[in-house]
Amino acid sequence: MPDVGRFLARANWPGLCTIALGFLLWELLLRAGLAHYQNLPPPSAIAGGLLEITRNGQLLADALHTLRVVLVGWAAALVIGVASGLVLGVSATLRNYSLASIEVLRPMPGIAFAPVALLLFGFSLQMELMVVVLPALWPVLINTMGAVAGVHARLFDVGRTFRLSGAEILRKVMLPAALPGVLVGARLSLTLALVLAVVAEMVGNPAGLGYAVVREQQAMRPDLLFAYVVAIGALGVGLNAALTGAVAWLFPAAAGRLREAA
């Protein structure tokens, strides 16, 4: 019960009011006939659609598929990004050799890989993962590299004067010092992973929330289409909130510094 009370107290009521007002305006404009589009449903119809796909289980099945792609792809991007970011952050030589390649690859729109992924893997989970992992990698890699390279030289001296081994300095000094930067990258990457998964499902693998949007559009069911769009938005908000909560719980000190940076 106190949890509910705290949640209610912390909620951004003015912000929520603005959103509610927006929906109300939308509903009224359509009902009054002031705005007229053939395929733009009022919020009430979208709510009805949401209820329908929740009841028949479509939403859960589609959301679970997309969630799995996002989480697996994000995890892969984290592992690859943190590992290579660490190596590149530590070694100035490696950085000199690879930074040019990174700067060429990084600005490429990730979705440009979708046709390649389709050719390689067909309509499959692997195709989706390839589209997700490649672009979601960069924020983690770049932020980890920057954070590690930016660890103050004095901290190495401290590690050495206390006679720590190289591995101990990495684990007890550099990783914690770089953690806020790594977390920033992880958060950007998670948001990106959801966008990419949805797009991959729209243009490639016919599954999940992204495909559901296209499917309902082709079935001329705008109410369901919008219901899925709302669901995708809710998934994004939920994932971000879950990550923020997990970070605050696991690394309270880093979370404080992260909030300041955000």
Binding site: R154, L155, D157, V158, T161, K172, P176, A253
Partner: protein, 270 residues
Amino acid sequence: MNAAGPGRATQAEPDLVFSCRDASVEFAHQDGPRRILDRISLELRRGEFLTVVGPSGTGKTTLLRLLGGLTPSTQGAVQVNGRPIDGPPAGVVIVFQDYSHALLQWRTVARNVAFGLEGKLPRAEIAARVDDALRLVRLETHKDDHPWQLSGGMQQRVQIARALALRPAVLLMDEPFGALDAMTKAALQDELLRLRDATGSSFVFVTHDIEEAVYLGDRVAVITGAPGHIGRTVAVDLPKPRDQIVTRQLPRFLELRYLLHQAIGQGTHA
């Protein structure tokens, strides 16, 4: 000079902790090697408080890093306990000038102080040593704070406590009070002398403040020039314990101060 503290096995070992013979340090630079320290000869005995005084740019920090095993000498011999230095020696800890960079900002005060002991001692022993060290620097009520919640003087005391928790034979201190106000500085100077008496550790204390060098030191080494060279070493024959008001007004204190000003002045004009 102070005798070593009780409980130390000093009889078997010679009295000498550090000895430098014509040690020079050069750094690679785009137009060839640049000499930072020039033929340094220096000795530190057990329980001794050696201060090194000189203007900035004379390689004081490099000298400390040389003794602490962070920077190797390019010529000459540097020995610790009779053996050539090869990396940071056991029982020797550096206290850095820039405490805000030297503390682990994500750790509490207590966990900063425990840093050098983790994995080397049982948990209970670490906790006891952390409490002892924090009591010595009078920070026992701040053990759960983070460094950024403390004033500069308190942060520097955390760094000193972290070094003390290791019960080091030698503390190498690089202008540790340089950024502090006069009152805090005086209080920490006295704490340091009290600690020396309590622990029997040896100190090499680098400063650009001549009065501080005389007040703290058993001996003062004057480092001047670029590359830095140790010109003369002056024994400080002032009574102990030192007192911020009485000691600083003794005619001998003023004489020594004058002497060192002269030595540094000549060095910079040469």
